[in-house]
């Protein structure tokens, strides 16, 4: 299987890439690690006439600390996230999620920006970004703008990214005392997308949960926040009975597509179980933090 014909571009800078994208508004496509796009091109689901490779652009690489935030270049690979001392120390949730993505070879090519831009409901970073309340930094001909993760994922393969824009970086808050996270993903085998996944970030003040975000993967047209269970747990001392009630609300919030991973009912139950585990993990970590 070989992709259809295209002209290949390897711009040296983000501005050059944006210019190329502007020159080919209808048939230009950005390629990052290529592990979603190239398979689609082989199957002719995607047939760009101009392929613009941004994987090697230096300004899209690297992880830096900016005050209480971490800035992650969009072309940072999953392997680089896993190896980063800064991410391990300040935002270990991202490391845990990256380790569960695909396999070592794919993680050497797959990028955080590509995963977010693709808009596949099975991708793992979108829910992590929602749970972290991350900002997506994008750049187009008019310059840079920032989109909150909660406003970014609009539907299957549909995001708030304009066709002439490129994701340049992700900004996530560094973990603070009292904050805990949980990441649980059910998958059938290495390399598979989640049957269902739940990411939770919460903050405890004393024993009271004063902030919580629950984000779900692959149980709707896109990753999404489960607001009903969040509202239930917000401002409460979370105990097992409350977690059970939240799990039921998680199940009610899901609208998964039936596929080889299971029917809708099964996936809803699995999303609830992943959420139970993630809430418990997040609580334990928040108490230890």
């Amino acid at each position: 299987m070989i992709p259809g014909e295209f002209e290949y571009h390897a711009p040296a800078t983000v501005d050059d890439a944006i210019q190329l994208l502007a020159q080919h508004p209808d048939d230009g496509k950005i390629i990052a690690g290529g592990h979603s796009l190239l398979p689609m091109m082989k199957l002719r689901f995607a047939e760009p006439a101009h392929l613009i490779n941004i994987f090697e652009i230096p300004e899209l690489k690297g992880i830096t600390e900016e005050g209480s935030m971490l800035r992650i270049g969009a072309m940072t690979t999953e392997s680089e996230l896993i190896r980063s001392a800064l991410i391990n120390q300040k935002c270990p949730l991202i490391v845990e999620a990256a380790k569960m993505i695909a396999d070592p070879q794919v993680r050497n090519r797959g990028t955080i920006g590509g995963d977010i831009a693709h808009g596949d409901p099975g991708n793992d970073h979108p829910a992590v970004m929602l749970a972290l309340d991350a900002d997506i930094v994008v750049k187009g001909p008019q310059g840079e703008r920032t989109i909150a993760a909660k406003d970014f994922f609009l539907g299957t393969y549909v995001t708030a990214l304009e066709p002439n824009e490129i994701i340049t970086a992700i900004r996530v808050p560094a973990s603070t005392p009292g904050t805990g996270y949980g990441f649980n993903k059910l998958k059938r085998k290495t390399g598979d997308f989640a049957t269902a996944g739940a990411t939770v970030v919460l903050h405890l003040k004393g024993n009271t949960c004063d902030e919580i975000r629950i984000a779900l993967t692959n149980v709707g047209p896109t990753a999404f926040r489960a607001e009903a269970p969040e509202a239930l747990l917000q401002g409460r001392e979370i105990d097992d009975a409350l977690i059970e009630q939240a799990a039921i609300k998680v199940m009610e919030s899901c609208a998964p597509a039936e596929d080889l991973r299971g029917d809708a009912e099964y996936k809803c139950h699995m999303a609830a179980e992943m959420a139970r585990r993630s809430i418990r993990d997040a609580l334990a970590r928040a108490k230890g933090n």
């Binding site: 070989i2 014909e5 002209e7 592990h35 190239l38 994987f55 695909a102 090519r109 290495t190």
Partner: protein, 158 residues
């Protein structure tokens, strides 16, 4: 569409090859450069049979464009043996019966070659997760893991 000339290092030798932009690295290695040790399995980046070392990292060459290798360094299974002497991993795969039909073996060797540089003294569990991107349809995993472990022991600095 006009072909492009690319140049890269293949098994430490400079090579130049005329390609179409849409050609995948694995096809150029096998069909143009006659290095057929790298196998094509699933062509969907699942099975790992096409694993090569690219700029010091393991990649699946069915999901990298050959044009992306321009200026880079590629190591394939043909580059493992030095001066007619098998690499310790190749020896270990032979001694420990780490192959059955042999189809996945080039990918297994190239992944374990890089993996042992990332983690020179791995546990069995670490080997299994480090090699998780390579499938063996004979399901000969026990002896593959054993071979990687014994190669690691032999490669330890004395």
């Amino acid at each position: 569409m006009a072909k492009k000339l690319i140049a890269f290092k293949l098994n430490n030798q400079p090579v130049e090859v005329l390609i179409e932009a849409r050609e995948l690295l694995v096809h150029v290695l096998r069909e143009q450069l006659a290095q057929t040790g790298t196998h094509i399995g699933c062509e969907t980046s699942h099975c790992g049979a096409c694993t090569v070392d690219f700029n010091g990292e393991s990649v699946k060459s069915c999901t990298v464009l050959a044009i992306q290798a321009n200026g880079g360094e590629v190591l394939t299974v043909e580059g493992l043996a030095q001066n007619g002497t098998l690499h310790p991993l190749q020896e270990a795969f032979m001694q420990d019966h780490g192959l059955q039909c042999g189809f996945c073996t080039p990918g297994m060797l190239m992944r374990s070659f890089r993996f042992l540089q990332e983690n020179p003294d791995p546990t069995e569990e670490e080997i299994r997760s480090g090699m998780a991107g390579n499938l063996c349809r004979c399901t000969g995993y026990q002896n593959i893991v054993k071979a990687v472990k014994s190669a690691a022991a032999k490669m330890q600095p004395a």
